[in-house]
Amino acid sequence: MKLAGNDILIQSLIEEGVEYIFGYPGGASLHIYDAIFNQKEMQHILVRHEQGATHAADGYARATGKPGVVMLTSGPGATNAITGIATAFMDSIPMIVISGQVQSHLIGTDAFQETDMIGVSRPIVKHSFTVDHQSNIAKIIKEAFYIATSGRQGPVVIDVPKDLTNPVDLFEYKYPSEVNIRSYNPPIEPEDSQIDRAIEAMINSKQPVIYAGGGTISSNASKELFELNSYINAPITNTLMGLGVYPASNKNFLGMLGMHGTYQANMAMHNADLIIAIGARFDDRITNTPEKFAPNAQIIHFDVDHSSVSKIIEADIAVFGQVKNSLQAINSKLKLRSSEINDSNLDAWRKQIEQWKEMHGLDHDLYKNNSDDGPILPQAVVQHIYHASNGDAFVTSDVGQHQMFAAQYYHFDEPRKWINSGGLGTMGFGLPAAMGVKLAYPDEEVICITGEGSIQMCIQELSTCTQYKLPIKIFNINNLALGMVKQWQDMNYDGRHSSISYEDSLPDFSKLVESYGHVGIKITKNSQLKAGIEEAMSIKDKLVFVDIYVDPNEHVYPMLVAPDGSLKDMWLGKGEKT
């Protein structure tokens, strides 16, 4: 079959099973958009800003496990997407970003809307391609999808000069059935010897902790993780990126660890004799001061990425491979050796952890207080949302205190339901990410827990939600300030609140969303909270924006003491330290 470059590009995406393209057109992508117009298999979602396109594609990818696809024009279209590409890169999310480019003969001449997209995006992509000829387009797309979705996943940029998508010149098209890149061989199966050493360590440990992160979700290994822990029954904590990979309602679950992790999770990590790290990367929000990290622990590290292992914390046993394959390998051996595991070995350890939890665990019953004597607590808002959504909604979030409260108080029992920008910490992520999730799962409840600062960073996407009828629920935890920055200023700068409030310039969010055709609900009192949230959840066919005025002075606790602190050094409340 002979096709023009623009049709080859679009047919190749169809071959890859793409359902949605998130994008925004312009001069350099006009030919491509004409090819999009002429097909029916994929739907193009017209966002209001290219950052929104990348976050929506990212949300789609996190919820489904399939790569999100973004279409951009050259120059400003491409640069507007950079924040979203970096967000996906930091969290290892598979994404294909196609950017139009000026015509080949104009490259390097400072032509209108010319930006070196390959150069600008280089540090924040897994790989990138420049299309050099129409006959290579199909092969490049095939390779791009393979790279984005294998090994440690990530975004791949494909830059396409406009002349190579012209509708006139025709070329032979056949989508490749196989892909093989000789220089690219991500590890899949682990080494047997390492598996045996890991099992030995697990059997002998008296104070083990499993620390599972986002890599376990990327690898779709939550079942395998659950099976592993059915043999060893160890206490388990998840990173911010890993929430949901192990059921939060399970008795072994300690909550999140790290900067705003639970007391029992951080204490268990600090005092462990064995840390079983699975698809996690010992980020500085987890380790606190690396030299003081878990002084008595042996470390087993499961990861697909060599460069993540022993980067910050030296691993004693390193198991390289796809996390899913590695866990399958260990499970099949552990199963046969289960008689060697003496569950009562961990009794004292479990008792110790239970005590820590009783001493300083989070209070999950704050929502029961509906008295109007005090202000609304943001923690109670999340608890109400959790109960009103039966704990099984998709929840996207932005960045700040509200994000941490959501992570602490919404209990995720399944992977891919908690969708947030952990690595880059991108304000503005929540709303467009929720659009991507809602498109993927139109019949599921999709909630965005945001703050009045973050929501304004991509608020233009409220219009996209109107156009495509996306009835997501937005809960705006409104503390009238950049709360997380304010908290740091309270704690480290004697309360000098430099540039963290907007005084009286916030919009009336209810009126704002109503002008887009959505429903606005405003809550200012505890006594309105339960009914207001339940009302929002009962509206199924419209986007509802619930603006909730909470205590502007609340802080997120626990919080690791920094600098120079270890995981056992935490602030537990205002002026209260461990």
Partner: protein
């Protein structure tokens, strides 16, 4: 121990491949003391790579890159691992060993 070390890479001679390697040094805060790159025409010394990857190199397809840098052992290991992750890199050697086909071998093969 901090000392001058040499890294040797065999990589696809594709547009942008060299700048990815150099860019990585900058992004991760490693220093380059010297750098030498040239296309490979004599494939004999690399026969073991061809066998391993089940491929045949042809004229102009691959390059050899030598980089000198002054670092300590853990950083050297991290640099090797980061370079090994670049899609266009076929093999990379440092004094710790060689990454080939994503697997570390305990000798300097390049």
């Amino acid at each position: 121990m901090i000392e001058e070390r040499q890294l040797t890479l065999i990589m696809e001679n594709k547009p942008g491949a060299l700048v990815r390697v150099v860019g990585l040094f900058h992004q991760r805060g490693y220093n380059i003391e010297s750098l030498h790159v040239e296309p490979i025409n004599n494939f004999k010394p690399y026969k073991f790579i061809e066998d391993e990857l089940n491929t045949k190199f042809s004229e102009g397809e691959i390059s050899r890159l030598e980089i000198k840098t002054t670092v300590d052992d853990p950083l050297m290991r991290q640099i090797l691992r980061q370079i090994n992750k670049l899609i266009d890199v076929i093999a990379v050697s440092g004094n710790e060993g060689t990454y080939l086909k994503g697997v570390l071998r305990d000798e300097n093969l390049l």
